[in-house]
């Protein structure tokens, strides 16, 4: 290997995890942590049984229920039925699989249940310098801790269960440098939406992104997770941020991190992770953090985003006929007029939640806008904490009361309306401002229309019933 001089954060983690790399074959990459949920795992366990295999390292495997669980108040204690018999059977199958193969499960009803990408870090399973996979594309979230974390398919879930390894080709690297200080009202969500708008939904395909620069360093761990979470929406294999004092302070004392002298030793090791001076990246993209505005999407993929003060782009302005056709198709689905501002557009539903923006800091930001105001008439606002632990913390701070007093729904933890396979969904034609990660056609319910934005922008829409610049409230 010729990469021993100046190495990137990615290089260091990758090199450390290559079990073997035989000439011409893909590398065999060792996986430190395998996160499992109900939707993408049943066929993998079925495959293990068919071959008579066991789970190689059950102690490196953790499961939760999140995608299809109901989030109506009381759901977590089993008082609300799941959406249908099929979902029920899938949840029961996860229990059976975890029991049979000796895997720790945070089931519906557990004090620690929550969205897989929320509870992994919260419980300290997620640690710097590790490799993490899950049958879920938003596994990139965990890269905020300086872990190489990426989504895999169900066949690969089976491979990791059976061997704790994956066959992988070394991806390319992309440095995303975000300089400057974010202006007021501009958040981590706006950074990542601006990046995707700039490079497109396929702009980072084949790459692992490393986010760096003053604006990234200034982010909290929760905000860093928001940025890394949506790396996949630019097509990236993973997103990474070098661990620093912010990371160590956030992780210290969590349930599953090393304790005492082992913690000190781990931190000393993690301090060696940041990219070496002069380390080379295959691609570099720069963003002026100081020049960002609150962002919002207008179309049907996360790359179709604009500063909230901008008008909806016009297909006529595009030279490339394919881009023109794509924009025209998106605007027809969204029923938006080209050239018109989004500000003031009608909103039916506001969704505050998902593995992108359901953490305590997100809830606090939204509550700061909602406090003393009321959700606009005719608007439904769902507030879905990412985990039971976050829900308890928010309740201890009185955030639940702020939302309830404003007329919002305070719900149980789960993926909820981000994926709309659990009973929480838009009706055809409805417009939602959503803090989630995907605005694909029908993503939040067949025929539903999604504007992706930050918790601040979502809260501003909830109290005005219109798309509103949060800086104006």
């Amino acid at each position: 290997m010729s990469r021993t001089l100046a190495r990137t954060l990615f290089d260091k983690i990758w090199d450390e995890h290559v079990v073997v790399e035989q000439g011409g074959e893909p590398a065999v990459l060792y996986i430190d942590l395998h996160l499992v949920h109900e939707v993408t795992s049943p066929q993998a366990f079925r495959g293990l049984r068919a071959r008579g295999l066991t789970v190689r390292r059950p102690e490196r495997t953790v499961a939760t229920m999140d995608h299809s669980v109901p989030t109506a108040p009381g759901a977590v204690r089993g008082r609300i039925p799941v959406v249908d018999a099929q979902a029920e059977a899938q949840l029961r199958q996860l229990e059976v699989n975890c029991a049979e193969f000796g895997i720790e499960l945070f089931a519906l009803g557990s004090d620690q249940q929550g969205i897989v990408h929320v509870i992994g870090p919260e419980l300290g399973f997620t640690q710097p310098a590790t490799t993490i996979v899950c049958g879920d594309s938003h596994t990139s979230t965990h890269g905020a801790f300086g872990a190489l974390a990426f989504g895999i398919g169900t066949s690969e879930v089976e491979h990791v269960l059976a061997t704790q390894c994956l066959l992988q080709r070394r991806p390319a690297t992309m440095l995303v440098q975000v300089d400057g200080q974010l202006p007021g009202g501009v958040t981590a969500k706006d950074i990542i939406l601006a990046l995707i708008a700039k490079i497109g939904v396929g702009g980072a395909t084949g790459h692992v992104i490393e986010y760096a620069g003053e604006a990234i360093r200034a982010l909290s761990m929760e905000q860093r997770m928001t940025v890394c979470n949506m790396s996949i929406e630019a097509g990236a294999r993973a997103g990474l941020i070098a661990p620093d004092e912010t990371t160590f302070a956030w992780l210290a004392g969590r349930a599953r991190v090393p304790q005492g002298p082992a913690w000190e030793a781990a931190v000393a090791r993690w301090r060696q992770l940041p990219s070496d001076p002069g380390a080379a990246y295959d691609t570099t993209v720069t963003i002026d953090g100081g020049g960002l505005e609150p962002m919002i999407t207008y179309g049907t993929n996360p790359g179709m985003g604009i500063a909230i003060t901008q008008p909806v782009p016009a297909p006529d302005g595009l030279a490339d006929p394919r881009e023109r056709a794509a924009l025209d198709k998106a605007l027809r689905y969204m029923d938006l007029e080209p050239g018109r501002p989004l500000l003031g557009h009608r909103v039916d539903v506001v969704f505050l939640g998902s593995c992108t923006n359901s953490r305590l800091g997100d809830l606090r930001q939204a509550a700061s806008v909602v406090a003393g105001r009321h959700v606009a008439p005719g608007v439904r606002m769902l507030v879905v904490p990412g985990s039971q632990a976050i829900k308890r913390q928010a309740e201890a701070e009185g955030l639940d009361q702020v939302f309830r007093d404003a007329g919002a729904e305070w719900r149980e933890s789960g993926c909820s309306m981000c994926i709309a396979m659990n009973g929480d969904q838009l009706q055809p034609g409805e417009y939602a401002v959503s803090t989630s990660n995907r605005n694909f056609e029908g993503r939040q319910g067949k025929g539903g229309r999604t504007f992706l934005a930050s918790p601040l922008t979502a809260a501003a829409a909830a109290v005005t019933g219109r798309i509103t610049d949060p800086r104006q409230l």
């Binding site: 079990v19 073997v20 011409g24 074959e25 893909p26 065999v28 060792y30 939707v39 993408t40 049943p42 066929q43 079925r46 495959g47 071959r51 295999l53 190689r56 995608h67 299809s68 249908d84 099929q86 979902a87 059977a89 899938q90 199958q93 049958g135 594309s137 895999i152 398919g153 169900t154 066949s155 690969e156 089976e158 059976a162 061997t163 704790q164 390894c165 066959l167 080709r169 991806p171 939904v201 396929g202 395909t205 084949g206 996949i232 097509g235 294999r237 993929n301 394919r322 881009e323 056709a325 794509a326 994926i419 709309a420 396979m421 995907r438 694909f440 056609e441 029908g442 993503r443 067949k446």
Partner: protein, 192 residues
């Protein structure tokens, strides 16, 4: 074992077709890989009543039995759901031709014998034009030779990961290969 394909093709030339379109999330509440083809492209393919959407390419006469899907740029972006290639395979597709693919989709497809064929933008545009002009166009995809051709087009090579190619052509089972490296994995665990 992957045999050469000679088939009519379905043309769905949009860019950035995401896996939520290929198979919406509400159809993921299953515990087997089978039977997903009926819901392939569900929300584009069926009306609210459940009746087929007459102008959707998968509902055109001749679409049934097609083994090749021609799509646009960045096919399969979004979610990691392997249900997307399962649904495409269950419908009968054995190859998807696009000008590029999302990473996870490509990996998932190859593990299910669904061949992702990436063509350059110009070649891809030629294929779309040829198929648009002739709905009965027969496309030949030869993995052994790593070439794709159609009437009027001399064979064009396409890239395939050499390991994935060997798995498809020789029937090498990836998990079996990984299991055969058990000694290396144990040695790695021991030296950490």
């Amino acid at each position: 074992m992957f045999q050469t394909i000679q088939s009519r093709a379905v043309l769905l030339p949009h860019d950035d077709i995401d896996t939520d379109q290929i198979i919406p999330a509400r159809f993921l509440k299953v515990t087997s890989r089978d039977g997903l083809g009926v819901n392939l492209f569900h929300d584009w393919r069926y009306q609210a009543s459940g009746a087929p959407q007459a102008d959707f390419p998968l509902n055109a006469p001749g679409a049934a039995g097609s083994q090749v899907l021609i799509a646009g740029h960045n096919f399969g972006c979004g979610s990691s759901r392997e249900h997307a290639p399962w649904a495409l395979c269950d419908f009968g597709f054995r190859a998807v031709v696009a000008s590029s693919f999302a990473d996870i989709f490509r990996s998932n497809a190859l593990k299910n014998g669904l061949l992702p064929v990436a063509l350059g933008r110009e070649e891809h545009a030629r294929l779309c034009a040829a198929r648009a002009a002739d709905p009965g166009l027969v496309v030949t995809v030869d993995l052994a030779g790593q070439v794709i051709a159609w009437p009027g087009q001399s064979p064009l090579t396409f890239p395939v990961d050499p390991f994935a190619r060997r798995c498809l052509l020789d029937g090498v089972d990836e998990l079996g290969y990984l299991l055969s490296l058990r000694g290396d994995i144990e040695a790695y665990e021991a030296r950490r």
